[in-house]
């Protein structure tokens, strides 16, 4: 019964999220506040992990920026994550792609998975 109450409370804070997982390349639209102004910044990279559940679920996106690996962790349901766009689905064999951190260049590629998107 208590779990049902927690889920009910969380329900109003959950967003509709497109289906994506580890290995997929995504564009994350992040709301950034600079003083009074608010703008959207797009961060593109490969999802290397999704963890947690409910409102506290988060995902990690890795990209190579100027030769340096950058990883950002986003709370999946945060209002600051305005939109998640899926660029490419990737074919991977595990849920957490932490091994990519040790791979450089061509070795860090991920095979693409062709998906028929239903309209």
């Amino acid at each position: 019964m208590t779990d049902a109450i927690i889920r009910n409370v969380e329900a109003s804070h959950l967003k509709e999220i497109p289906v994506f997982g580890s290995g997929d390349t995504v564009k994350v639209h992040v709301r950034i506040k600079e003083g009074e102004k608010e703008r959207i910044q797009v961060y593109q990279g490969v999802v290397i992990s999704r963890k947690g559940g409910g409102t506290s679920e988060s995902f990690t996106v890795r990209k190579i920026s100027g030769g340096i690996g950058v990883e950002r962790v986003f709370p999946l349901h945060s209002p600051n994550v305005a939109k998640i766009e899926i660029v490419k689905f990737g074919r991977v064999r595990r849920a957490k792609l932490y091994y990519l951190r040790k791979k450089i260049g061509k070795a860090a590629r991920i095979r693409e998975r062709r998906v028929i998107v239903k309209k």
């Binding site: 779990d3 927690i6 409370v9 804070h13 409102t55 506290s56 709370p75 349901h77 945060s78």
Partner: protein
Amino acid sequence: MIGFIGKKVGMTTIFGADGTAIPVTILLAGPCEVIQVKSPERDGYSAVQLGFEPTDKKISKPELGHFKKAGTKVYKTLREFRVEDPQNYSVGQIITVEHFKIGDKVDLSGISKGKGYQGARKRYHFSGGPKTHGQSNKWNSPGSLGQSSSPSRVFKGVRMGGRMGNDKVTIPGSKIVSIDPENNLILVRGAVVGPRGGYITIEKKG
């Protein structure tokens, strides 16, 4: 009214208006019914006794008589709260979460989880002994217990290992983040003492 009875449901995260994640504890609070009003003339002090969670379980005869006298339902839990104005309350009055506002600071009290017999390190946050430099077996020892031949005894109240937890703990000034009158829920910021399902008294300050 300054006090209220609730039950800890569990913790979760919600998002504030500016997108910050807020850790919250969900409390199932009330509705509570006034069972008895204590007045200075009759009882020597003024207080209100509240009942929480109606039950049909067998309870002791004296308790049953107490509810019968009040003419109310039979409740699982009773708690008393000191009030300044007992004349404003009457037996049978129902008090709900609507009594509180979002942003109110409340004191939350409950019984902490029992930890059993614990050493001074965990119980009183002692730092323990050194791990290296030839140290062999004093990692968790509390160290000195006092002086030598004078007083040649250990003073009373020196902190040592022993039973930990299962104490009444009050968390002062917890902020109410959200209220759901429909489901009798209060969301307070941060952690609350005790296990899930433990009873918590919620008291408004001032």
